[in-house]
């Protein structure tokens, strides 16, 4: 095979940080990655994503992809699980394997002095995992234990109930680790199938930050991915978020109820997304200054914390929120959330709120870029949602470009107080399921 030199495009993302230079690297074998060189600390943070994740689940095999992901580090090549762990520890490298609804993620950190050996080990996990019978049983036991714990966890019950209502038979409609029944039935062949569905070259995104040059990174990319299958399962299709308005009450004996609520939302590539993001910051954006926090916590002491969030999954989009409140105050808290939703849809935000949210969001953005690991995670996330490298330099301008009139038009568009559905787990006074 002809080996081409590593291709590099450099994009300077001024004015955010004078020296943050994202290089777009293409390996001799044709794998692309984003790189920020940072030679002041002798280690590398490497982030890899495979698009699809547990949304690529085969029918009736719920939990196979999650179990497979848990097994990647449990023996590979000629090393069994314990030997693999010993080898990794001897290098003081850390590998993390995780799977979500939209992607499977691999996070690695290793010292420059051990780079080649760490990459060789990581390659084994990604290319030749063993999936041996004893590891499958051991990790299956861990997953089943976790699934048993969820049966009596009100937060888990709320999520499972809401997802089933919203997404039905789509993979989003069930917990991605599966159920006790489905995981108990999984065979080794299902794990192998999950692996070939999920891990493939046509769905890779890579970011690296640290003590490495573009040429060295190019070599690493080929070592890691050259022998990977070209393609896996086709990506799943879009699913409508489809829950009628109302309340679903799940009876559960506990002094404090959990509420999870939401309705249909807005896609990540919608032109109104930035305005929606700013408006949501004002309604329930996680810090102490939001309207929901003010009304429920600061003014009335009904909860320890409440937030609302846009949830732009790759295959569906919603606006959600969550809080806990004592059984005797849950009904009052839900009324307040509905009122705030209504107010936002009717009258939107004030000029002062908009300005404060914009200042917060634009000021907070550069603070995210504060270490090799965080920068690598941001860069890989940008790639998988299709943002260009120069997005970093333009992002704050887009936040600032949201005018009051525009923000309020979008608020009226996206907040639908009459569409809100609440799943409440607990024994709240004076609340019952609709219908």
């Amino acid at each position: 095979m002809i080996r081409f030199a590593t291709l590099i495009f450099i994009l300077f993302t001024t004015p955010l940080r004078a020296e943050i230079a994202i290089q777009e690297v293409t390996s001799p074998g044709g794998i692309t990655a984003w790189l920020v060189e940072e030679h002041s600390l002798p280690f590398l943070s490497l982030e890899i994503r495979f698009r699809g994740g547990s949304s690529l689940e085969a029918p009736d095999k719920r939990g196979a992809i999650n179990l497979m992901t848990g097994l990647l580090e449990e023996g590979a090549g000629d090393l069994d699980a314990r030997e693999f762990a010993q080898a990794r520890e001897a290098l003081a490298a850390s590998f993390g394997f995780d799977v979500g609804d939209d992607s499977l993620s691999v996070s690695a950190e290793f010292l420059s002095e051990n780079r080649d050996q760490a990459i060789a080990l990581l390659r084994m996990a990604l290319i030749e995992p063993a999936f041996d019978a004893s590891s499958i049983e051991r990790v299956r036991g861990q997953v089943l234990s976790h699934l048993r714990s969820r049966i009596t966890d009100p937060n888990a019950i709320a999520s499972t109930t809401f997802d089933a209502l919203a997404y039905g038979d789509h993979p989003y409609g069930s917990y991605n680790s599966g159920t006790i029944e489905s995981v108990t039935k999984l065979a080794r062949a299902d794990i192998l199938d999950a692996f070939s569905r999920t891990i493939a070259r046509d769905r890779i995104y890579v970011a690296a930050v640290g003590d490495i040059t573009a040429t060295q990174l190019g070599d690493i990319l080929d070592t890691l991915f050259q022998d990977m299958p070209e393609t896996g399962a086709p990506q799943a299709g879009h699913v409508a978020f489809d829950v009628p308005a109302g309340i679903t009450l799940v009876d559960f004996e506990t002094p404090q109820s959990v509420a999870l609520f939401g309705h249909v939302g807005i896609t990540r590539d919608d032109p109104d997304f930035f305005a929606a993001y700013v408006v949501n910051q004002i309604l329930g954006g996680g810090n102490f200054s939001s309207r929901l926090m003010d009304e429920l916590r600061e003014n009335r002491g009904l909860t320890y914390g409440v937030r609302s969030y846009l949830l732009p999954y790759f295959l569906s989009e919603s606006i959600m929120g969550r809080f806990s409140s004592s059984n005797d105050s849950m009904a009052e808290a839900i009324d307040l959330v509905r009122d705030e939703w209504q107010k936002m849809a009717n009258t939107g935000v004030t000029a002062e709120e908009l300005s404060a949210a914009q200042t917060f969001l634009t000021g907070a953005y550069p603070l995210r870029f504060d270490g090799n690991g965080p920068i690598a995670r941001i860069m890989v996330g940008m790639q998988i949602i299709g943002l260009p490298a120069d997005y970093i330099a333009t992002r704050n301008d887009r936040i600032r470009a949201v005018t009051l009139e525009y923000a309020n038009r979008v608020a009226a568009r996206i907040y639908k107080p009459d569409a809100l559905h609440f799943v409440v787990v607990g024994q709240p006074d004076g609340l019952q399921s609709s219908q």
């Binding site: 699980a81 861990q142 089943l144 506990t254 102490f288 300005s355 550069p366 504060d370 600032r400």
Partner: protein, 449 residues
């Protein structure tokens, strides 16, 4: 007067980089004339600063019967002062693109903001204000007390594992206040008053009882000038009493308990031993215990408990050993075993004790020891990537009776630990008379100890 900035729009992208400097993690320390200790940790890779004030006052410093007041006061520090309205502190931080929060432990209460480096002076202005000028209205007290009760409901009363931990800790300490939960006992939290909060505030919130830690894209001389400007004028309390808490009597009897809860679907067994913590100038035993925790119950594929209970036999789905090393008084060393589905807690506990007994006889696998030593050494390099974490190390240590020299010696102390040190430390702590064993069980489960 209020701390409102004239032109917010201008600040957002005026963040400029200071010249790149090679050393991340450079530490400078000094003391202000009023006794306030200052630590600066430099990291010039990003234009960010973490500003923290740590008070040497935690839940274990509370008066008897007023449990939760240290944490309650932490919440109340976000209310009005003579210069700011309730909630204004966080609003100003957010309006400058920063985030802020606070946390309380048995030994300290800490407040922090993470913000653009050129906002440091503003943070100091506000933080120094609330160190001495808190007002507290009765309305704030009533509402915020509901918030901390909801917090207790969410984080403790809704979590059977947290309730087990609370019961075990209460049983472990016969006399020392570590037996009382930081969040407080509910019946005492319900009676916490404005007077309680102010008494705790006036006793402990003072520059000579506080440590300022500034980490990030800052230069020590600039921090010194700002600290002198904002914290320097605060009057010290003076004559702060030494932090002597009621101490433990000889512990003569093993304690065992079962916590049953209908919300448990995965039972487990946990054992907590009383264990020494890092002492100033004498950190070797604590360092040895840090190794012991990793050797016995670190990564399950390589740890002694994991290999024996999860690999050689299928007794457990999870096993871990835990030890935190940094506290003012004697801490805990804990073991946990989550049994496989058809394994009883009796069997799980017996298997755990067999593994420990065998380890005490066989000693340490030297290859495992060397791997752990290498990982600990490497963790010092990885740690430089997170300056906020470095700042917290200093905060925890300096509020736990340690000095800056102790913090800086700790990596070398860890590298100097020998397998013999570890076995000696294990010999010392594995005494069932100084331990609590707890079982977490479902209400209906039939099993007796």
């Amino acid at each position: 007067m209020r701390f409102i900035l004239g032109f917010l729009a201008a600040i957002t992208f005026s963040i400029s980089m200071s010249p790149t400097m090679a050393s991340a993690g450079q530490v400078t320390d000094f003391r202000l004339d009023n006794g306030m200790q200052v630590v600066v940790v430099e990291d010039h890779r990003a234009p960010v600063v973490v500003h923290m004030v740590w008070y040497k006052a935690g839940a274990a410093d509370e008066p008897a019967g007023r449990s939760g007041i240290a944490h309650f006061l932490e919440h109340l520090l976000f209310k009005a002062t003579t210069n700011m309205e309730a909630g204004e502190f966080s609003d100003v931080v957010a309006a400058n693109g920063g985030s802020d929060n606070a946390f309380t432990s048995q030994d300290y209460t800490a407040y922090f903001q993470r913000i653009a480096a050129d906002r440091l002076g503003l943070m100091m202005q506000m933080e120094s204000d609330r160190m001495r000028n808190l007002l507290l209205s009765e309305g704030d007290i009533a509402t915020e007390r509901d918030v901390i009760l909801e917090e207790r409901s969410q984080r403790t009363d809704s979590e059977p594992g947290a309730l087990l931990r609370e019961q075990m800790t209460a049983a472990l300490y016969l006399n020392h206040p570590y037996g009382v939960p930081v969040i407080g006992w509910r019946h005492e939290m319900e009676t916490l008053s404005r007077a309680d909060a102010l008494a705790f505030y006036q006793r402990f919130y003072a520059p000579d009882n506080a440590i300022l830690i500034v980490a990030g894209d800052v230069l020590p001389d600039d921090v010194r000038a700002l600290a002198q400007q904002y914290y320097g004028p605060l009057a010290p309390t003076g004559n702060l009493p030494e932090r002597l808490r009621p101490s433990e009597p000889p512990q003569l009897a093993e304690r065992r308990l079962i916590y049953r809860d209908a919300r448990v679907s995965q039972p487990y067994v946990k054992r907590s031993y009383l264990a020494p913590e890092r002492d100033s100038g004498n950190q070797t035993t604590a360092a040895a215990l840090a190794y012991l925790a990793r050797i016995l119950g670190g990564n399950s594929a390589t740890s002694v408990l994991g290999q024996a209970l999860q690999f050689e036999r299928q007794i457990a789905v999870y096993s871990r050993a835990g030890y935190s090393a940094t506290s003012l008084d004697d801490d805990t060393f804990s073991l946990i075993v989550v049994p496989s589905q058809d394994v009883s807690l009796t069997e799980a506990e017996e298997a755990m004790d067999e593994v420990i007994a065998k380890f005490m006889q066989d000693g340490i696998d030297l290859e495992q020891f060397e791997r752990i030593k290498m990982q600990i050494r490497a963790s010092e390099i990885y740690a430089l990537d997170d300056v906020g974490d470095l700042a917290e190390r200093y905060g925890r240590a300096l509020t736990s009776g340690l000095t800056i020299a102790d913090v800086q010696a700790w990596p070398q102390v860890l590298q100097a630990v020998t397998p013999e040190d570890v076995m000696q430390a294990a010999q010392m702590i594995f005494d069932r008379n100084k331990a609590v064993t707890g079982w977490l069980m479902q209400e209906s489960t039939e099993e007796t100890q």
